[in-house]
Symmetry: C2
Subunit: 316 residues, 2 copies
Amino acid sequence: VNEAIFIDRLRQIATHPAARGLLDDAAVLDGGGAALVLTHDMLVEGVHFLPDDGAADVAWKLVAVNMSDLAAKGAVPLGVLIGAGLVRGGNWAAAFADGLAAALAHFGAPLLGGDTVAMPAGSAVTLGLTAIGAAPASGAPARSGARAGDDLWVSGSIGDAGLGLALRQAGNAGPTALIDAYLRPQPDLALGRALAPLVSAMADVSDGLLIDAQRIAAASGVAMVLALDAVPLSAAWRAVRGDGLDDRIAAATMGDDYRLLFTIAPDHADAIADAGERFGAAMTRIGTCQSGGGLSLTYMGQTQALPAQLGFVHGQ
Amino acid sequence: VNEAIFIDRLRQIATHPAARGLLDDAAVLDGGGAALVLTHDMLVEGVHFLPDDGAADVAWKLVAVNMSDLAAKGAVPLGVLIGAGLVRGGNWAAAFADGLAAALAHFGAPLLGGDTVAMPAGSAVTLGLTAIGAAPASGAPARSGARAGDDLWVSGSIGDAGLGLALRQAGNAGPTALIDAYLRPQPDLALGRALAPLVSAMADVSDGLLIDAQRIAAASGVAMVLALDAVPLSAAWRAVRGDGLDDRIAAATMGDDYRLLFTIAPDHADAIADAGERFGAAMTRIGTCQSGGGLSLTYMGQTQALPAQLGFVHGQ
């Protein structure tokens, strides 16, 4: 790894005045007085991405997973700091930096600072990103705000990224829609901002639809009833896997979706449909909140047992 | 590594309301309207710390190196996010979490969020910390503010941590003052806040006194003349190494000092001495800024050649 070349590339990216050219001890940012939304997610080779995933795809994903957290809080990105533990020689670091620049430009998130380390031999590429956003004036939605009587909704389709990963691990290059869902998740910051004032609770689907729904239920102190037959599946998923009960449970436990999962009072349903139309996002009602606790599942009106694994269980 | 136990410990630490109990997608922090100071520094086993350094010492250092950046900008800590790539089994993660709690309490920095990953076999322990601070009302001092005619000052003593590391690598357990300077650096946030309104430029000494002085000179567009005989050496350093020219060059290029290096107009000298007395910190005038560029060295009034290495050169 040539750290100096990588850091020079980061300096070219870090044009926002708050970055101070990456020449100071710290970034100095005018937050504009809004409450701050702060998140830090890591991507580690062999844990979160495959060794042969492209450097630019890895950079995209590093940015996207953190932007997904901002989207779930309705935040506007103010900037990011990167922690880059690099291993590979050759062109990897430069390609990663180029991919980082493209992803940050896409999401409108300036690079403000960070740290770069050439990792010891044998280590995995280890990447961290801190994203800072401005909370919406209406407040950043919490996971804990769902109330009995609210409906549970999700944006987009579920399972595509997990199936794309499984196909990629099996050596397949397609279908592109599934592989891209894994390599290039598309969190929707504008949709998150539009939804934030309407929802009672919101989170992103990162570890699996069922586990993330269960976490909203637990944080909010409500029972959640989720209709598996309502879980939105893409045409590509249906073509590869089908849409039976087992397929739906698989889709709802795979994770890496980076969709928005939220609860609303039923009288906001029209506003949700409007937001979906405005931002070109499918919006699907998949469940309801009731008094009580825990997650339960139905399929075609029949109660179903919870699967042993609701999703990936790891760090926040 | 038992991630679940580690994350439970982090939840016990993260009592600030902005952390949302580490149960949400992101922290939501009221920044109070001040400009934000943002920094992210990594510590990697085998690069920044030795495999047999204690877990609590590593946690201290992770927090301290980031607090040192905040101190150099005169900032008040608002909180931190941690990226913990853990490897060791046994008690390491729990001892690290306990050390983290103690260090954060010492510096008054709440844990707001982060991410935890069990690293693949063979990887080094890889830690990142993002620190967020509130800039002083007078503005966060930059590295670029030094002007011809200003004096260059440094707080504390220089070289102790580097010598402590060298002793530790040679298998020595003492002198404690040097080993502790390496294991437990003591950035001084209160001193940084007191100095911020007085200085024209300020940085922390992290990579070596000479390289950090050179960076201030380059960022400010001034020439810096540094008197090696004025570089403050501790009694422990003098006892182990002596205070000849070679010893002074060694001390000034070792790094890991986490002292404050700053420039002031000469008529602020009394205020600097007062601040040093108030916070129990030695304050030493070690050089001057002149028109021109570059760093030059003197010893007992004679110009000296720059050493080949001014300090550690790596990421920001």
